[in-house]
């Protein structure tokens, strides 16, 4: 039985103390894979936030009806359903983003963040706390992905959200929109994040 928890703390923990990307190292694949531009990072973050929120809600609502032994398959079905919904809606209404995110949309289902929160939180806490938890973790994820995407886009393409601030043929740090750049950019962002979180705690 979960005690009444401070919902502000609940929300904020997902942003700094337990940030899914920088602290818990969850959801690394999409973090590195789709952040070659800020828009892609933001889009992926929001898609993941949606799935996380919906699955936390459903699982928190039906948790007493799911026998312990089959909880993982049950969670997977719920999560996979919401991912499929996102897939279909994106393909129909935002085809550009669907194209850019490509294979990483169905891969949201194996994002350890979502299954992790279902297992560690939503299946053990009330509806409101689960919603706030999802929002906190989700926004932590969105922020991480958007910042990484922005850094890579600025350095690698000289633009931000497709708004160019150097000329078309300027020499940009192309490495950052390529795979190695993802690792390197994230490495330095992780250092920065650690410094910030030490200061704020």
């Amino acid at each position: 039985m979960a005690e009444k928890m401070n919902q502000t703390q609940n929300f904020l923990k997902g942003i700094i103390k337990e940030n899914p990307v920088f602290v818990m190292l969850l959801g690394m694949c999409p973090t590195l894979g789709v952040t070659s531009s800020a828009f892609n990072g933001l889009g992926m973050g929001l898609a993941t936030l949606f799935v996380l929120l919906m699955s936390n809600i459903v699982i928190s609502l039906v948790k007493s009806q799911i026998p312990n032994k089959v909880r993982i398959p049950a969670f997977i079905i719920v999560i996979a359903s919401f991912v499929t919904i996102v897939e279909m809606v994106l393909e129909a209404f935002i085809p550009f983003l669907y194209e850019q995110l490509g294979i990483f949309i169905p891969l949201i289902v194996v994002n350890c963040l979502i299954l992790g929160r279902a297992e560690a939180f939503a299946s053990k806490n009330d509806l409101l706390s689960s919603i706030i938890d999802a929002l906190g973790m989700g926004f932590g994820f969105v922020i991480a992905l958007t910042v990484l995407g922005a850094v890579r886009e600025i350095l690698g393409n000289g633009s931000l959200f497709a708004w160019r601030f150097v000329s078309e043929n300027a020499n940009t740090f192309i490495l950052f929109v390529l795979p190695p750049g993802a690792f390197i950019a994230l490495a330095y962002l992780a250092v920065l994040f650690n410094k910030i979180s030490i200061k704020t705690s």
């Binding site: 531009s37 948790k63 007493s64 009806q65 799911i66 089959v70 393909e91 129909a92 194209e99 929109v177």
Partner: protein, 198 residues
């Protein structure tokens, strides 16, 4: 909050309920989105056709012709265009899987004599800022007016006349590949199209 016991019936029952509910919800959303999906795809094609062909006043989508090449899974779409019943060109969808990130689909507009009117990129997943520049004016304008019977459509590295994108040779090569394929289909269809009276 006590959880349900993990008896066999409970386990199977709860999974069954979840699966059925999930199945129905997905079927429902699928029905909702299938229309908009098709509309979005069609709109993209129609816009591309208009972009790559000279003026026409038929309905190329209605007059679509399909051609199946030997070693490809799907048929190639050819959209003939007529202005007052005279054949003025055809748009062919070329595709290749050899892009840096896989599939690239382009719409190539040919004049009856085989000259390329224009090319539009339909689908690609290339690296933003690098491979995605194939959609850009700077890259595309070199293809207008060329005729593959006399133009060596390869990147300069491979001995051809095409200027590849800096840092995106693979994408540029794949683009040439797709264009060549579209040309191949066009030449096969051209004879029948020229004789085709709308």
């Amino acid at each position: 909050m006590k959880k349900k016991e993990s008896t066999f019936i409970n386990m199977v029952g709860s999974l069954l309920v979840i699966t059925v509910v999930a199945g129905f919800s997905l079927g429902f959303v699928n029905d909702l989105t299938i229309g908009p999906k098709a509309t979005a795809k069609l709109k993209q094609k129609v816009n591309a056709i208009k972009l790559v062909l000279p003026e026409f006043n038929n309905n190329p989508v209605k007059d679509i012709q399909l051609l199946k090449l030997e070693n490809s899974k799907d048929s190639i779409e050819v959209y003939p265009a007529f202005l007052n019943n005279t054949f003025v060109g055809a748009a062919v969808i070329g595709r290749t899987d050899k892009g840096f990130s896989g599939l690239i689909k382009i719409m190539v507009g040919f004049k009856p004599n085989g000259d390329i009117q224009n090319i539009a990129v339909l689908e690609q997943k290339e690296t933003p800022g690098l491979g995605t520049k194939i959609k850009g004016e700077t890259f595309l304008k070199q293809f207008r007016g060329i005729n593959l019977s006399s133009y060596n459509l390869n990147v300069r590295k491979d001995g051809g006349e095409t200027d590849a994108l800096t840092g995106a040779t693979i994408t540029s090569r794949a683009f040439c590949d797709a264009t060549k394929m579209a040309y191949e289909v066009f030449t096969i269809k051209n004879d029948s199209l020229n004789a085709f009276e709308n």
